[in-house]
Amino acid sequence: MSKIIGIDLGTTNSCVAVMEGGQPTVIANTEGSRTTPSVVAFTKTGERIVGEPAKRQAVTNSDKTISSIKRHMGTDFRVTIDDKKYTPQEISAMILQKLKADAEAYLGEKVTEAVITVPAYFNDAQRQATKDAGKIAGLEVKRIINEPTAAALAYGLDNEKEQKIMVYDLGGGTFDVSIIEIGEGVIEVLATSGDNRLGGDDFDERITRYMIDEFKKQEGVDLSLDKMSLQRLKEAAEKAKKELSSATTTNINLPFITATAEGPKHFDMNLTRAKFDELTHDLVERTTTPVQNALRDAGITASELGKVLLVGGSTRIPAVQEKVRMLTALPSKAASSPAMPVQATSSFSMLLRLPFPSRRWAA
């Protein structure tokens, strides 16, 4: 009589949640984070490490570090480590085992059953591979759920009237848009589209580039040549982006960013939301075509949508929300529930509300 855990097995990050008191709780890993990098490594001493420590040693052990294994699920791809071949399922199982162990540590009891989310475009082989990964990890996979479906469940939309919904998911590295239909006890994915090379990281990159250019203009120094300066700029860019979601201007202050023959140089700049929007305009624009394609493939017009769900941290950017409003002419239900951190790529966790096989969720 153990609990069922919900797992979002992502390409770059994974996340595990459990139902507590009718609400989903995202479980922090042993390192204290709510997401775990989907990275597996075998150390020189033959030890296996998963998650953040694996990511931190990737640079110095790249041959034996595996990331983004999700892209190979359901294929004949094999990873060879120390003359031993591993299937994508086996590698994914190592990530699942880590998530399972973290959930067990949190709950103080054994966990044997799970629900796992997969992208709506996953084919049968990819779904089966995901199921197999769960089995290898010692988990009975009660159900495989589509990510957009999980998002809809997370918002409790299955209890609402029958309607068609758009799930607009702009995460760290990928953009996915899905049209789903909520019917009598059934959620069906009508169409999906996206851009697997578009995400929050691109927005950070634009700010970083702008900071480098401005500094070069003013001080004549190229900060991109100094690895440490660049690292500081990247961190500051991400922070500035987040601040501009609520404030209209932010200050970026990096003392001693570099030193020249004349002495130390400081970076101090104000960035307005207007400037940020200008720098990232084309990125936001790139979501238009996938949205239109998804609507077309679903055979509907924007006016037939009952709701738009915003999922993923990058949908907190005001210009993104504005774009969605323009594309759909609908007020969007923003992802802001505290129980569901938007950084957990899909807000899958409420899926645990429905572990009953009879509830037919169309794949």
């Binding site: 139902m19 008191g21 009718g22 609400q23 690292q231 130390p264 009953f356």
Partner: protein, 238 residues
Amino acid sequence: MTEEEKNKGVPPEDETVDLFRENEEKVEAEGDAEYSAEAEGSDTAEAKEPEQNGDSADAEKVTADDAAEEAGEAEIAKKSEDSGKKKKNDKKKDPRDEKIAELSDRVLRQQAEFINYRNRTDKEKAQMFEVGAKSAFEKILPVIDNFERGLATLSEEEREQPFASGIDKTYKQLMNALAEAGVKPIEAVGQPFNPDLHNAVMHVEDESLGENVVVEEFQKGYLYHDTVLRHSMVKVAN
């Protein structure tokens, strides 16, 4: 799912049951006074609406149950309620015995779950101070970095000047204060690379250097007691 269907003895796996409604039914059916007493500040009325009352320990317990089991239990509870009105198909067992067995089982399991929950929240409470302190210290680390960067730009001569030496002493005072609070730098250069403490951002192959050893530190890492506040950003050899 209609009441009629429910009473036909369809196995619970084939039922479509709304978990929330089910919980309400369960709590109503239970009304276990002893249990309610254990869960601070929650009464049955509150517990009837677990979805609106996340911090009620009572509600927590009930929904924390294995979901599939719950379906079955809600089913039985429902049947028992209705048993006065409708006769069950073939079963000759006293429905009260069934209910006693089922409720006893549930009490036991909920007690076990509650102990787990209490242990976990106790642990979390103990950690709360540390978590808060950590997040405050994390914000101070970039300030320390800049003190160090600034002091590093000074020549030996400049360092002797009263203002510069005052800043240097202020920096040392800050580091001492942090050390007293439990914050200390992570040793990196010359140490074996350890991904639990160090974050490798560069790799170098050099025979003159040791195996898997940290050769350069780009950014200092810090520990708060035994947990990492920030990993050292390092270059690793071989």
